[in-house]
Amino acid sequence: MRALLLFLALIPLPALAEEILLSGPPIWESAPLIELVETQPAEGVTFTFRPWASPEKLRKMVMADAPLLAVAPSPTAAVFDANGIGLKVISATITEASISIVGRGDEVASLDELQGASLALPFKGYLPDLMMRRIAAPGPESWQPRYTGSLVTAMQLLLAGKVDTAMLTEPMATLALTQDPTLVRRADLCVLWREATTLADCPPAAAVIVNATLYDRPEIREAYRTAFAALAGDPGKAAGLLARHFPDMGQAKEGFVRIRALDLPMPERADALARFYGAILDVEPAAIGGKLPDPDFYGK
């Protein structure tokens, strides 16, 4: 009996792979995470993807003990940090040409040229609203907000002719344009942002965050960056990847191909993200937790 136990103890057990949870909403920025799941590039690590549907669900995942790498709206990451929820940003993502002001009329170079047109966009205080307010204060001489419950509702109001313009992200902007040929892209938010803020970068609207269990894991960061680079070179591929978890995104290819995606690795490009937070702090401090994040947040 003793010999049998010794024999069993000597049999090499198969090494258990570490499981890392990846999470994100149905946006282009989540596609590199799904690419990681498809390719499983890190040895001894199994990546799994689970979408988050609300910031509350994301917060619970961040606070759990399981290793997590997730895509979050940049302001949400700062709000979590300001409230003592332990996380670090390992990258921020810029998706140039992904947010457009769509409507009927000519292209505009500044929001003043909208001359008080109504503009549908999600909830007051959400990122699209914050960016718009940073570009130009709403009013009868520039743009007049019509807050909606979601981007989809904003698009529907535009198609129904209930608003003059709508701020839409890809693939919804392209979808709206194909639904109604009288609609045009009146402005690229990135261009308006650069002009108004004099910042060199477009808004890094998404942050890639990790919880405490993944703070010092260079191989995971490297794997993420490789996956990101593969998709940045072929942005339309993101639609197919996202469709595995968000079936509606299968038709997003046409909208995604025009995106120019840039990865801002932290802490090297922390300045770009910090300047973005500075711009948001000017219009609504509470949206980033009332203060600028500490250097530690960026992994400095």
Partner: protein, 244 residues
């Protein structure tokens, strides 16, 4: 006196438990009673909260309630007087009573402006059957013998209305009004949450997404207080009306 003391002791126990639980948690997850009291103080002394958040929501709820009554009462009256009308309206009433509030709110957002009109119409459409049924049932509760006697003795119409019809209608209308008033505020909040229209609903949404949990709790207290006040006022009114 004893009941009041027991109520206060229960309340104090609840707050003590809350304070203990909050000590073990991040303020963003469960703020303590003091933090919530502070947030509540800031909220109710903030002019912008009254002008830009509370009053628009209350206005929409009141307008929706008023519109539901203005449409529901004549329909209820007509349905009582001519049962064919009641039968004609029955399918619409069944749909309105069965449709979940969030679905109706989403449809109203799509069909209307997404702002004030959407919220008022959603509230009105959902509450309309409540008033229609209450008025019809109230009218049916009028004692026919009493009504006939009033006719025989040629009681003046106004006096008949005041002494015979209104007390009977009130037995069904009073409780319906109580339910409708609280629901008007609930549906207003729901529609604001879904539509993004500025008001209590979107303030709740913002407090949640910015992790301002103390403010979220303060908003919940304000909402509960409003519903409680409306309930108390209507209960008092009902009690006074039911006095002989």
């Amino acid at each position: 006196m004893m009941h009041r003391l027991a109520f206060l002791a229960g309340l104090a126990g609840l707050i003590a438990l809350w304070a203990l639980a909050a000590r073990e948690s991040l303020p963003a997850i469960l703020p303590g009673p003091l933090a919530v009291a502070r947030a509540l103080g800031l909220l109710v002394t903030d002019r912008e909260f009254w002008a830009g958040t509370l009053l628009p929501s209350l206005g929409r709820a009141a307008a929706g309630l008023g519109l539901a009554f203005a449409l529901g009462a004549p329909l209820g009256l007509a349905g009582w007087r001519w049962p064919a009308i009641s039968a004609l309206l029955a399918p619409v009433r069944l749909i309105l009573m069965g449709i979940p509030a969030p679905i109706l709110a989403i449809l109203c957002i799509l069909w209307f402006d997404g702002g004030d009109i959407t919220v008022v119409l959603t509230v009105a459409v959902l509450l309309l059957p409540v008033f229609q049924i209450a008025i019809a049932e109230g009218m049916a509760a009028v004692d026919p013998q009493l009504a006939e006697m009033a006719q025989v003795f040629r009681v003046a119409p106004l006096r008949r209305l005041h002494r015979i019809v209104l007390p009977a209608v009130w037995t069904a209308f009073g409780p319906a009004l109580r339910i409708a008033a609280a629901n008007a505020l609930r549906v207003t909040l729901l529609t604001e949450l879904l539509s993004g229209a500025e008001g209590l609903g979107s303030a709740v949404q913002r407090a949640q997404s910015w992790l301002q949990t103390d403010q979220l709790f303060a908003l919940v207290i304000v909402i509960l207080a409003l519903i409680g006040l409306a309930e108390a006022a209507l209960t008092r009114l009902l009690r006074e009306r039911s006095r002989p």
